[in-house]
Assembly symmetry: C2
Homo-oligomer: 484 residues x 2
Amino acid sequence: MSKKQNKEGLNVKKQENFSEWYTQVLEKAEVVDLRYNVKGFEVIRPWGAMIIEIMFKLYEEELKKQGHKPVIFPTLIPEENFKKESSHVKGFTPEVFWLQKTQGDNKLALRPTSETAFYQMYALWIRSHRDLPLKLYQRANIFRYDTKATRPLIRAREFHWIEAHNCFATKKQAESQVQEDIGMTETIMHQKFGIYFLAMKRPKWDKFAGAEYTICSDVLMPDGKFIQQPSTHLLGQHFSKAFNVKFKDESGKEDYVWQTCYGPGISRMLASVISVHGDDDGLIMPFCISPVQVIIIPIFNKENKNKILKEAEKINEKIKSFGLKTEIDAGEKRPGEKYHEWELKGVPFRLEIGERELKEKKLTLFTRDTKTKENIQIKNLSEIKKLGQEFDERLKIKADKFIKGKIINCETKQKIKDTIKNKKIARINFCSVDRHGEKCAEFIEKELGAEVRGVLANKREKAKGKCVICGKTAKEIVYVGRGY
Amino acid sequence: MSKKQNKEGLNVKKQENFSEWYTQVLEKAEVVDLRYNVKGFEVIRPWGAMIIEIMFKLYEEELKKQGHKPVIFPTLIPEENFKKESSHVKGFTPEVFWLQKTQGDNKLALRPTSETAFYQMYALWIRSHRDLPLKLYQRANIFRYDTKATRPLIRAREFHWIEAHNCFATKKQAESQVQEDIGMTETIMHQKFGIYFLAMKRPKWDKFAGAEYTICSDVLMPDGKFIQQPSTHLLGQHFSKAFNVKFKDESGKEDYVWQTCYGPGISRMLASVISVHGDDDGLIMPFCISPVQVIIIPIFNKENKNKILKEAEKINEKIKSFGLKTEIDAGEKRPGEKYHEWELKGVPFRLEIGERELKEKKLTLFTRDTKTKENIQIKNLSEIKKLGQEFDERLKIKADKFIKGKIINCETKQKIKDTIKNKKIARINFCSVDRHGEKCAEFIEKELGAEVRGVLANKREKAKGKCVICGKTAKEIVYVGRGY
């Protein structure tokens, strides 16, 4: 976009046209540029790249804390690897980018996910129960030739994620890893990034290709649609049997390992952060992931420019010494323009430093989410750290509230239809999330324009009564909503 | 490799068979696994991945310090982009992996480098002198279908690097960026990683495809061959003209920007770190990039196991509190086996904690490079930080010394031949590094088995006399050696 556009700010309200708001904020806050000349591929500009870098860092730290180690696998996977797990190859083949043959007869794919790359190596690395648990992850770019309409950060054909691939001696250990994964989504995506989610165990027909079951974190976007965030899969022994990943237990008995995998999509998570927290003035970045936490705007004229800039530099160093990310915007633009640009970028705090502020030894502090201005004494600048935590807490509480009152118990098809139309989530009695319920799910998709997202994964809800669709005895309570 | 192999350690001396030593140390220290089923593609195991992660971090911090910002570009580049700069397309086409056509008529490549992806966007982003300098970098995986024999980390078909792409208003600014780039190689690769290099301005026939000139950092490997480490290129206005990257100066006059690019290959740099510092017992990791800086080995029997482990945990926490990376190896193996494994992995320091050590309140400290054991009092453990700096300083001095006496002035072809045979570098009078000298370079390559690597880039050396090859007046002093 041209600099001129940028100055103009957003010309659409988030509530009135979320889709247009989203595209505009990505462009005008310089998060993403959509003009790259390959369809579905985007350029992530410095502001977006810096945020993604911090998000990766926080996620990787948490993975390490939970006993994972990093690894780097090739991007290319031979077709023969895919073919080893039959439901996996069926699920992913339509979305794969293939290379022109260069290396003999091996047909090579750009990884859409890396189970089939990792597990042939796991078969070589794992021998005994002493090699377990094996918990490895990689930070990677992956490729899916999604045939649906692409959307920046949400449904791009190349995206940036973490994939963790774990092996255990028992099913019980693997299942507790699945819970640990949901816990990580809670710790990082919800507690840190402020993104509320429903942990949904997907119906059988919608699980990951090759898994026993899949638990996704569904985030409700401002337009009332669900976006799927990190999912964790109990792979069971499907892949370990296909790739011959065996271990000897203490008694010397051989068995296949039990596996899980977990995939936080960092670029996609950024889409939720932007969508959930932003407002009509642009982004609102959580303090913990903003590349600039405090922007300092010096207010000067020709006469006092040097003096003011010198003081701004002192303030800058002082705030940096508290471990905060801060920057001075010393450019030639007018202060008002600078205010506007940094609000668009969502920087949590702005400090204004001018002649008056220096005289009174207190600065003007602007807070992005509340849009309030207050005075802060120079000697109290270390308080910004605490204010930053409060900032993130406010964002989280506000985001949590968004889903309140949006989950509607529906006893009839018409009520489901109305609920979906009102951009809400229908909670219904449902026959079964085994394959027996697939027909009812198809009915919901075709006739009511929504999807059965699954049953709550971290709370057992007991169904009473009959399936709203087919009238048979309901075995489950499921959540129904539109999806991206 | 199996655990069994691992225990056996290296069975070859570095000096006797460097090539075999290198392969063994990569496998046995679990840096890389070469059994991935696509030729030229390797799996980087946790120990290697953790080192690479730290190397990236140090490099990226330095780039940011020098005013660069990160960006993330697509991996796929359309053929039409390559074709815009004629020498670039000629240079890279033979090495490109192409995708099967999926998206209309666009023939897509896996990036072998990203000039042609970046600069079409630069044409959109740069308008005025106020947008300059533009200094962006990305951390990326790139792909080159190298037809030479592949070698792990050194010549893999996918590798991991940083590429910085900068734009300036004047040629002078661009040239000073090239010097800044050499400075970064010095600051990080030499001062931190301890890898000595010659900054070589390449002959005209050997410059980067599309550059005015190329300066590479040539590192001498233990087998007497040069490996090319980070190179920096003055691209001039070749690409800005091809991609129409223009700016308006203060007077409103339009001109093409001046460009540079710089490419530190992190996985390849790890190859040098391993090769230069390692010894017959395995890796020796510089303290500043070792994922574990201090390994704690508890020495216990059944009776005192709990007590010793508890004390080890205390020591571990204490050392962590100094900001050091430390770990306890509490496994069931015998201490001797553990010593051996961590020496193989190159961990700088080992602390042994047993009954005797606790009684005397001093631990046994083993230092990897000198293989010395000494006592350290528990109250003095913070000294390890200083010892770590000294460790790195020793590695650097030792590596620096390796090239001493290896640069031989050669006045005859025979002497060049002998010098190369002795795994040394010939310094010779040479007619010209312009295209006029290409024939002499070809002679050197075919008849003497070596390459003209270029002239010193950071020191002007004046040639006197005649070209050793053709006898014409020598314009330059060049360095000749074998290359990877």
